[in-house]
């Protein structure tokens, strides 16, 4: 076929958009790190390069201390999150623990709470002087500040709790994907529970477990909110906060922030490379629910009440504390330890104040536009990518696959910085608009969405598309009327994931924030800096409410088109 149709045009356009969206950040970061000139200065675009920035950054003792901080913080948080997450995944997916379903829902629900609120809640609970626990300890036992969240262990604790829902998602999928026949075959040979666990279950889960550990480590290396809010007072500077401060202070230290960004990017790429070596290329498209088996659940006998209590306690720390702290603070006239007087003084005043101030209303509208808009754009782009990669033989589709997945290596803070720098030198009036944040999010959320949609696309038989072609519809019509409805489960999952994350994202939004394009998360950071905990709490509760409404709407709308999801 030589005629260039709409299909070929769509592919070409898609490659162009992706190349722009993906190559720009990579190129920008390397380019800036090799320049002494700043973006916008004429010399910045010249072809003379220098390693001066690298010598200045990597030659200093600070760089190596910060590297050590970053790695030890990530290592400790990953380890703790892994232990808790593995326990939760095991309890929820593989035992007969009562309330396991509810515990799972509460754990996943935490994903709708922005990371910054988790850090703030724990500061309100356990910081010196104002923290609830320390105030209680002083009042009840006369102890002065027995715990301090502004410390290495405090940061690790909060970061680990923040990571548990993701750990649960990764390990829960691995636990569910295990064929229970393999364990049953072991039981039939006379092996007991522990013997089977040690010799069969654990060795089989090892690749998935190692892969989960690597991804968690990568996520923690990129973590921003906890180091931002707690790192300075704890004396723990890490890569992400260094890049943020070097970019946001005046004058901007381009050299230093770009070399730190290169270091962060390098660590991320090394980890990803190890990850792919471990799981093999095909695992990216691993279907999470492809088999017709139910995992074997272990009967714990009376121990199931112990696991239930422990899991509920952990879910309280993970989801309950942030949500309840925000709800409590949002209703108070001034911040105080819970007491009868405190509860008597509660009112909705903080909420009214929020609605009367355009500085809080506009950002909420911004987030409510940004989340659904980005999610829709990302889902359309990845649906096209996975269609071209899996269902056609057009040249260029491999490149598409690579471009769609490559951004997984770019940490948010680096992505934010490069988009900012790039649009400083490109004469497009995007700085200070929602569009620039949206473009950065498109790059940021493509890889995860691609994973969701590719898994769905694999289950759509190529003949369904071929039958539509034979039936004579145009390519665009077939894509809209056949492909998208068939992909509905994957598209909906991807849309919800992207919408929730784009709605509550802080790192990129903060780095690209000006007065007009602030998002709700950025305003939470502003309110935190001002010390307005109470209005912050009200905003947090509103964000959570709006997000729930958006998710519900998406489900209602999606129920009206596409294939019925099978009820298991």
């Amino acid at each position: 076929m030589t005629r260039l149709g709409l299909k070929e045009a769509a592919l070409a356009l898609l490659i162009a958009v992706l190349a722009y969206q993906v190559i720009v950040p990579f190129a920008m970061i390397i380019w800036t790190s090799l320049k002494l000139a700043r973006p916008g200065e004429p010399d910045f675009l010249s072809l003379s390069f220098t390693f001066a920035n690298y010598l200045r950054a990597y030659g200093g003792e600070a760089f190596w201390r910060i590297s050590l901080n970053t790695l030890s913080f990530a290592f400790a948080a990953t380890l703790i999150a892994f232990v808790i997450g593995a326990f939760m995944a095991w309890v929820i997916e593989r035992t007969h623990t009562p309330l396991a379903g509810l515990i799972g829902v509460l754990l996943i629900g935490r994903i709708a709470i922005p990371g910054i609120l988790i850090a703030i809640s724990w500061i309100l609970v356990a910081s010196p002087n104002i923290g609830l626990i320390n105030q209680m300890a002083l009042r009840l036992a006369g102890l002065r500040n027995p715990i301090n969240i502004y410390s290495f262990s405090g940061m690790v604790f909060v970061q680990a709790l923040e990571l548990v829902p993701l750990t649960y998602l990764l390990l829960g999928a691995a636990f569910k994907a295990m064929d229970p026949r393999l364990e049953e075959a072991s039981a039939m040979t006379g092996a007991g529970h522990w013997h089977t666990l040690r010799r069969i279950s654990l060795p089989l889960a090892l690749p998935a477990v190692a892969a989960a550990l690597l991804l968690l480590f990568l996520t923690t290396i990129e973590a921003f909110e906890v180091p931002l809010l707690m790192g300075t007072r704890a004396g723990m500077r890490v890569y992400t906060t260094e890049i943020f401060y070097d970019t946001s202070r005046t004058p901007v230290d381009w050299g230093l922030s770009s070399t730190y960004a290169v270091a962060l990017l390098a660590v991320a790429i090394v980890l990803l490379f190890a990850y792919f070596r471990l799981v093999g290329h095909g695992e990216r498209y691993q279907t999470i629910t492809g088999k017709d088996f139910r995992p074997r659940r272990i009967d714990l006998g009376p121990w199931r009440y112990a696991t239930c209590v422990l899991a509920l306690a952990l879910v309280f720390l993970i989801t309950g504390v942030p949500f309840l702290m925000m709800l409590y603070a949002s209703l108070l006239p001034f911040y105080q330890v819970p007491s009868t007087a405190a509860f008597a003084s509660m009112s909705l005043d903080n909420y009214w104040t929020l609605f009367q101030n355009s500085k809080t209303v506009t950002p909420m509208i911004n987030s409510s536009i940004l989340g659904p808009a980005v999610a829709t754009a990302v889902v359309l782009v990845v649906a096209l990518i996975s269609y071209f990669v899996q269902k056609t033989r057009l040249p260029g589709r491999r490149l598409l696959d690579f471009l769609g997945f490559a951004p997984v290596a770019i940490p948010s803070v680096v992505l934010g910085a490069t988009f900012f720098w790039f649009y400083l030198i490109v004469p497009l009036p995007l700085i200070g608009t929602l569009t620039i944040i949206g473009l950065a999010y498109l790059t940021k959320y493509m890889p995860v969405a691609l994973r969701f949609v590719s898994a769905s696309m694999m289950q759509v038989h190529a003949e369904l598309d071929e039958a539509a072609q034979v039936a004579g519809g145009s390519w665009a019509r077939n894509f809209l009327k056949i492909m998208l409805p068939l992909l509905k489960p994957g598209l909906l999952a991807a849309w919800l994931w992207v919408m929730v994350h784009a709605y509550r994202e802080l790192t990129i939004a903060l780095m690209l924030a000006r007065s007009q394009n602030r998002t709700a998360s950025v305003v939470i950071f502003d309110l935190w800096e001002e010390g307005s905990f109470l209005r912050l709490g009200a905003l947090a509760v509103l964000m959570f409410g709006l997000l729930s409404v958006l998710c519900a709407l998406a489900r209602v709308i999606s129920a009206r088109f596409g294939v019925e999801e099978q009820v298991a």
Partner: protein
């Protein structure tokens, strides 16, 4: 010797409870191979998994080799039942070699390491896989995985063998080869075996006894010859092999022979249950291979369709509105529309109560 009494097991699915096994009783003689046969969803696999201990029955009693495995307040877990089981997916552990897969079955039974290897090699020799002992398990063909699964089930010297549709993932030719192999191994080992399948040809070929199940109940049981030649239910006649079912009414009962009035005329047949009385609504079941050129029952019709199949001709004869399948001689006249007279002996015409 396996004894099952009053076995019940139900599952919750989508808010409602479905009785997968609804009161099942049977016993299997020591050294015999019994097949649980039935369409999918009939409860045969659930019954087998209850025998294995992989499912906990809601009620009922199971005894294997004289030892009670399940009873009120008694549940012996699978690892203490000393059974060998071959799974439908084979369940070969992918992180172990062939030898390790087989030797593992001796770990839980507390066999010392040196002896484990020796006995595993013996079991592999029995299934003719000695050369592949060191190979990684995922690098085996379907038939080889099947053999590993059998060696693993045998190596621990279990008191019974359980097979869960073991041949369903093999291609047709290999399936016949493995089914004879399974039968040989079971005979040589002298172990009691329970075999689950939905394939009636496999069940007829392999079993000492067939237990036919439907919707959580046992329909009937007997030797393969019994259930095929003298089924007592329309379901059995239909499920095993193919048959023609002609509706009618009992007109007369005379010395074990029954005269049936049907749309195709009067047919003389036999009643395998001996329970039918005059006036009963019945089905007459005649197998295609029993419609020959001799016999006192005659059915007249016209040749509708014939397919030459080598030794025989598979023909459909239209008798009024009823299509009758029959196997004719290879040299029969196949001209469509030609009139045909089919004959059947009364012993081949089974009169079964309408269901």
């Amino acid at each position: 010797m396996i004894e099952v009494a009053g076995l019940r097991k139900s599952f919750a699915a989508g808010g409602q409870t479905i009785a997968a096994v609804d009161g099942v009783d049977f016993s299997i003689k020591a050294g015999a191979m019994a097949t649980l046969l039935g369409p999918s969803g009939c409860g045969k696999t659930t019954t087998l998994r209850c025998l294995a201990g992989l499912e906990r029955p809601d009620s009922g009693r199971i005894a294997i080799g004289g030892a009670t495995m399940v009873d009120t307040g008694v549940f012996v877990p699978p690892q203490r039942r000393n059974l060998g089981m071959v799974f439908q997916s084979y369940a070969i552990w992918p992180h172990m070699s062939v030898l390790e897969n087989v030797a593992y079955a001796l770990e839980g039974r507390g066999v010392p390491r040196a002896e484990r290897r020796k006995r595993a090699m013996e079991a592999l020799a029995l299934v003719q896989l000695t050369e592949l002992a060191e190979r990684a398990a995922p690098r085996l063909s379907g038939g080889q995985q099947q053999r590993v699964a059998i060696a693993r089930a045998l190596v621990g010297q279990p008191q019974a063998l359980l097979f869960d549709e073991p041949l369903s993932n093999l291609d047709a030719k290999l399936r016949i080869e493995m089914r004879n192999e399974l039968k040989r191994i079971q005979r040589e080992s002298g172990l009691t075996a329970v075999y689950v399948t939905h394939d009636q040809a496999e069940a007829l070929a392999i079993s000492d006894e067939i237990i036919l199940m439907r919707a959580g109940h046992i329909v009937e049981r007997g030797t393969p010859v019994d259930v095929y030649r003298r089924p007592r239910h329309v379901f059995t006649a239909q499920f095993l092999g193919s048959t023609n079912l002609i509706p009618g009414m009992v007109a007369e009962v005379n010395c074990g022979r029954l005269a049936i009035t049907t749309a195709l005329g009067r047919i003389l047949g036999v009643d395998p249950t001996g329970a039918l009385r005059g006036g009963a609504k019945v089905m007459v079941s005649i197998r295609p291979e029993d419609l020959a050129t001799d016999g006192i029952n005659t059915i007249e019709g016209r040749m509708a369709f014939a397919a030459f199949a080598g030794a025989v001709v598979e023909a459909v004869v239209l008798c009024g509105d009823t299509k009758i399948q029959c196997l004719l001689d290879g040299d029969a006249d196949l001209t469509p529309g030609r009139s045909v007279v089919l004959r059947a002996k009364p012993e081949a015409c089974l009169v079964l109560a309408e269901e």
